[in-house]
Symmetry: C2
């Protein structure tokens, strides 16, 4: 497992904050409108599986940015799936 | 730039296929219903910026899986932003 230079890891962490944060407005919108009709369930189920694999890829590469980003994004994607069933 | 072992890269490629493919049903749903109301514009704008940074992170790590995944995901996210303006 290679040690990733700090300068590169910073870019990964900013990317992680942005792609993770981008799910917050979606979760908030569904919660506020009590509707998940416009959101595709299949998208979020496939997405969650992919995010889980990116997590393992991050572990194998020793990328803390990928590990943290995909953990939080996975939790948010699961929340959207939960809302989809609750508010359909 | 470290060479990533083939076995690890395979996991990244499967992850790439899944997270990229997860956007296709969303794009199709918006196109079919001619409505992007349930999709958050702020989500996709922040997401696109994050995906661009993951692309650079992938370039710096020498990860072809990340480069390809984030190129295609970025294009699909831009398509959703376009539909959001077209179909609002």
């Amino acid at each position: 497992m290679a040690k990733i230079p700090f300068q590169i890891e910073i870019i990964g962490f900013v990317a992680a904050i942005l792609t993770t944060a981008s799910f917050v407005p979606q979760v908030y919108k569904i919660w506020k409108t009590k509707s998940a009709q416009g959101v595709s369930l299949s998208m979020f189920l496939i997405f969650f599986t992919g995010v889980s694999l990116w997590f393992f890829y991050g572990v194998l590469l020793g990328s803390f940015a990928m590990i943290i980003a995909n953990t939080i994004t996975g939790i948010l994607a699961l929340m959207i799936v939960y809302f989809k069933f609750k508010y359909k």
